[in-house]
């Protein structure tokens, strides 16, 4: 608090700028907004390592999916498998309408939300992969679908939003 005190010396005084310290710190390069897409992919090396693998968990129940994703993440940490990212895909809402013909025509609505969590893993050796798969499968809760697949550019692009105006302008230009 003493550093941020209100006694800022005036510019004509010799003690002007006495509390400055930012010039002492190393220079930080300003972070760029755009993210690079491709990271290296090892399909089959000499020791048979998998490249980036996505474990996708989908379910109707948020709590189950989140807790399961947490569990898988912690499991990978303990087994010292490198986890690149763990993110959530946007939820999809489905409206279910029942059309009953008996008596009066009634429509009962049900609203279902589908949630998806993705954990990206790298550096999985092929001797260990089936064991990991077995552990995850045997600990799967009810109602959660599990999918393991290799990471592709299409998967990465599905997270980004498309910009229609930009595409229109590009189309006009070319």
């Amino acid at each position: 608090d003493a550093l941020l005190g209100c006694h800022r010396s005036y510019r004509s005084r010799p003690t002007h700028g006495i509390g400055k310290f930012k010039y002492l710190l190393p220079k930080e390069v300003p972070k760029r907004r755009k993210e690079k897409v491709q990271m290296k992919e090892i399909s089959e090396g000499t020791e048979y390592q998998y490249g980036d693998i996505n474990i996708q968990m989908t379910s109707y129940d948020v709590c189950l999916v989140e807790h399961f994703a947490q569990y898988v993440h912690r499991l990978c940490n303990r087994l010292s498998i490198r986890v690149n990212e763990s993110y959530a895909m946007p939820t999809k809402t489905n409206e279910v309408l029942f059309l009953e013909e008996r008596g009066s025509k009634m429509q009962l609505d049900a609203v279902l939300t589908t949630h998806q969590r993705v954990i990206q893993i790298r550096g999985l050796s092929s001797t260990f992969a089936p064991i990991l798969l077995e552990i995850i499968q045997s600990n799967q809760p009810e109602g959660v679908h599990l999918l393991m697949k290799q990471h592709t550019e299409a998967d990465f692009k599905s997270r980004l939003k498309s910009r229609p105006e930009l595409e229109e302008l590009l189309a006009e230009m070319s």
Binding site: L108, S126, T127, L133, Q137, S138, P141
Partner: protein, 243 residues
């Protein structure tokens, strides 16, 4: 020359697993915790739309009974009341019958059927003749030079179950190994003993409509393995089995 000097015979064995279909029942502590958490969440949660609507309609009904308020009726009440909806849902729920969890207890411990313990892994055991004895083993076949051990295991599975099983072999690496030496009578220079490599596979399709070639087969859980396998063999097999 390397092949001639190697005195061990190699076998590939397949451990075919049928995955559990139902979750295992919760332990006592787990159930208590679950009930407690549910109660906490219920008390902490807010009312949902349906519940608010139900409360409002109850209020309106009560007011109508006490004093005649016809303005509420003129406000365009919906045809369906929230209470009716609830009753309809209750009826639907009562009509729904879940499948029984313990199908096999009825079948009086029939260990050859796949519909047994639905909440644990089931493994295939076959009776095979080795040397002079008939033993219960995981299905195995002898390795022929020029084929991978994994295909040996798949061949073993195919001889016992027929060609059209959909089983997914997990990986090319074996899960365990059991080696034993032949008794002195049979031992020759070239045949000291045998090594059995175990592979694991998951059964995708749970209906085995093809008739099995050998009649002596069993589907057992990990705990019941001890009844059938020999102790040394059992020790090595138990090492790679998850429960």
């Amino acid at each position: 020359s390397a092949a001639a000097e190697r005195p061990w015979r190699l076998f590939g064995a397949m451990c075919l697993l049928r995955l559990p279909r139902i979750t295992q029942p919760l332990e006592k502590e787990e159930e208590e915790v679950a009930a407690l958490m549910e109660q906490i969440e219920l008390e902490k949660s807010h009312y949902s739309d349906h519940e608010i609507r139900k409360l409002e309609e109850e209020e309106q009904l009560r007011r109508k009974k006490e004093s005649l308020y016809d303005e509420d009726e003129a406000r365009g009440q919906t045809v369906i009341m929230a209470q009716d909806l609830e009753e309809k849902w209750e009826q639907k729920f009562l009509r729904f019958k879940a499948a029984p969890r313990i199908t096999d207890a009825d079948k009086s411990n029939d260990r050859t059927s796949l519909n047994r313990k639905l909440d644990s892994n089931l493994m295939l055991l076959v009776k095979q003749k080795i040397g002079n004895q008939e033993l219960w083993l995981l299905p195995q076949a002898e390795w022929q030079p020029g084929e991978t051990l994994r295909s040996t295991a798949e061949r073993a599975m195919a001889t016992f179950l027929g060609d059209h099983i959909q089983a997914k072999v997990l990986g090319n690496a074996p899960y365990g190994i059991y080696k034993y030496k032949f008794p002195r009578a049979i031992r020759t220079e070239n045949n000291v003993g045998a090594k059995v490599f175990f592979f694991k596979a998951y059964l995708q399709n749970s209906d085995l409509s093809q008739a099995e070639l050998k009649a002596d087969y069993l589907w057992v859980t990990k705990k019941e393995l001890g009844d059938y396998l020999k102790s040394e063999y059992l020790k090595k097999v138990n090492r790679f089995l998850l429960d």
